[in-house]
Symmetry: C2
Subunit: 177 residues, 2 copies
Amino acid sequence: MRVLGIDPGLTRCGTGVVDGGLGRPLRLVDVGVIRTPSEWSVAERLVFIEKGIEARLDEHRPDAVAIERIFARSDVSTIMGTAQAAGIAMVCAARRGLPIALHTPSEVKAAVSGNGRADKAQVGAMVTRILRLDQAPKPADAADALALAITHIWRGGAQARIDAALAAAGTARKAAR
Amino acid sequence: MRVLGIDPGLTRCGTGVVDGGLGRPLRLVDVGVIRTPSEWSVAERLVFIEKGIEARLDEHRPDAVAIERIFARSDVSTIMGTAQAAGIAMVCAARRGLPIALHTPSEVKAAVSGNGRADKAQVGAMVTRILRLDQAPKPADAADALALAITHIWRGGAQARIDAALAAAGTARKAAR
């Protein structure tokens, strides 16, 4: 399974592609950051981010896309741009019919480090160890994108079973009406 | 000049196309609402909104796109989806190289009714009068989209002069360094 992780942002949008499966070693395929200058209009920045994500989808053909789930209670000054970058990422994936998963920062921290309140350095260190890299990917947005992809692969099996159970329960509930 | 106004929203995204110019009567070209069911994923809803906006751009070929400016202080429960719908609208326009203007709700209310704190009914009534319609466009999102387009046409001349003056001042400042 190949997953593209996206840590959305208007100034820096981290992207990371990881190959692997449950119980098998994970492999780094690609990592990077899409940067846009603050002098550009929001529209120009979003179009540039769209192009960057499309290029990564074209090149790496992931089976799924994992995006950080944005909360309205986050930092108000950047929340709008972050939400819009996440929206563009979702549209790029959905247009191709790719499964999209949203993971919260604490889910990602818990998945890679066992601690939902781990700091950036700890997440970076664990990503480095899990992918057997020589050093932590920089900047933090790039490491976070890889952590999202890792989280998705590791949670994938469990989440798919939960979704299937919920869908079955929903069908049962409807049938019982 | 033909302007597409967009009142962004995930559940209802209002669109309105208006022809006209400063000092000339305005004409309604098209009005509508892109609706998406709340059962759909955000990604599916954003893709559907993108398709709807693309269809309107293809059909009506506007010279500019006016979008409501979203503030982070708005209703937190809907702000993320609204910001994302606005982001998609911006990307659709920017990909075609169309000028994009963001107008605040109070700018729009002031432009069409003379009162920056006018209510929905007053905005609807003024849109009806300005475009010489038989009745107010429904729902309010559709009327708001038309009000955005009207605002853009009426503010267009003044705003273009302000932008040009600011750009000239910026050039002068840089040259003076």
